[in-house]
Amino acid sequence: MIRIITVYGGLLLTALGRTLLLALLGLFFACIIGMIFGIMGVLKNRLSNIISQIFVDVIRGVPMIVLAFFVYFGVPYFFNTMIGGFTVSLSALQAGTICLALNCGAYMAEIVRAGIQSVDKGQMEAARSLGLTYGMAMRKVVLPQAIRTMIPTFINQFIITLKDTSILSVIGFPELVNTAKNVQANTFMSFQTWAIVGLMYLIVITILSRSAKVVERRLNVGR
């Protein structure tokens, strides 16, 4: 155990850094995707509702490992070989970010949609009856209240996404799990290696959820 920490500790920490980088990149784009598709899901517009629903259904209906293979291997193959004339290549980090953003984005879209719909209809009506436009009412009245109710579910989704980065070891991105596989292969100490890796995830996620609780409490002031 000690030997793994002294010899491979630095390597594993760097890998953890990459895991966090991947998760942060993925979450950043997932938030944007989630907001866009979530709001499209509540607009009074049939077409935008349908597009949002299809996006969510498709992404939720495909395992992330399949999505990862598809984006990393399938998409470049489609452009380079099937169509030809293009040279598309994605790095593992780029492909991983796209996968996480799409996957987490679909769940975020559902969270956003549910959050907006949980705000009493009267809030929108009152805002509109004062002459505010739909957009103003959404921005100033409905969304701020929706986000409050979304936060616990958001945090839950952040944690799931952080853990889902491990799936992306299959496309060769040297995040924590992928690196740990190499450490195990070199040392044959599988018990110690995976215990340490598990602990690393546990610590990061615990810190994340604890600080999230603090944020949640702060935001509830005045409610």
Partner: protein, 247 residues
């Protein structure tokens, strides 16, 4: 007080259906400047739907609604512009829960660039004084009682300086001892010459304050006239029936 020369709201052959359900069947009426109209009737008679058609919170199925000369049922109308001039007060107050009282009152004037921040705030203070809640500027809606919330809601609507105020059962969700304070604010407003359309179950208030009472049932106006006529000497069978039950 009622200025018969100026029609503020003109409703012609208004119909409204939700799917197969015809809620409003054929309604025509006019509201004059400075007039206080109370709409009474059993639940499900279409009173609230009628009121909500006056500022297009409900899309009308057929007929026209003309407010201040603007046909709000026409396609190209900028409904937001028209709504700026029509205050609305809801049964469940609908104060913005995420904003304190000052921000509740100044949100619309500021977003719509009606005036400067200092003007909006001083007007908000005036309106809060008018409804007797000057000390609540920094409170949040959740810290107020029902009666206080409703008075804030009235003040919020007044901050847009509307010509017309619509009230959708403003006292129905209140504890009995808080009804009086809200009705008092409405009486003052009526005395100031505001044009008001009020859906209410407060017959005493209607008798005292209304210039005209409309009794609705089954999507029609069954009877209308002065409070004297409708509430004290009703002619229609259904009006008599209804009044016997509620009085």
């Amino acid at each position: 007080m009622v200025d018969k020369s100026e029609v503020k709201i003109k409703v012609t052959n208004l119909k409204k259906s939700f799917g197969d359900l015809d809620v409003l069947k054929d309604i025509s009426t006019e509201v004059y400047k400075g007039e206080v109209v109370c709409i009474i009737g059993p639940s499900g008679s279409g009173k609230s739907t009628f009121l909500r058609c006056l500022n297009k919170l409900e899309e009308v199925t057929a007929g026209t609604v003309i407010v201040d000369g603007n046909d709000i049922t026409s396609k190209g109308i900028n409904i937001n512009k028209v709504r700026e001039n029509i205050g609305m007060v809801f049964q469940h107050f609908n104060l913005f829960n995420n904003l304190n009282i000052m921000d509740n009152l100044t949100l619309a004037p500021l977003e719509l660039k009606k005036c400067s921040k200092s003007e909006a705030e001083s007007r908000a203070r005036d309106m809060l004084k008018k409804v007797g809640l000057a000390d609540k500027v920094d409170s949040y809606p959740s810290q107020l009682s029902g009666g206080q919330k409703q008075r804030v809601a009235i003040a919020r609507a007044l901050c847009m300086q509307p010509d017309i105020m619509l009230f959708d059962e403003p006292t129905s969700a209140l504890d009995p001892e808080m009804v009086g304070e809200v009705l008092q604010v409405m009486k003052n407003l009526a005395a100031d010459g505001m044009t008001m359309v009020i859906v209410t179950h407060e017959m005493g208030f209607a008798r005292e304050v209304a210039d005209r009472v409309i009794f609705m049932d089954g999507g029609y106006v069954v009877e209308e006239g002065t409070p004297q006529e409708v509430l004290l000497n009703p002619k229609e069978e259904r009006t008599i029936d209804f009044l016997n039950k509620v009085l």
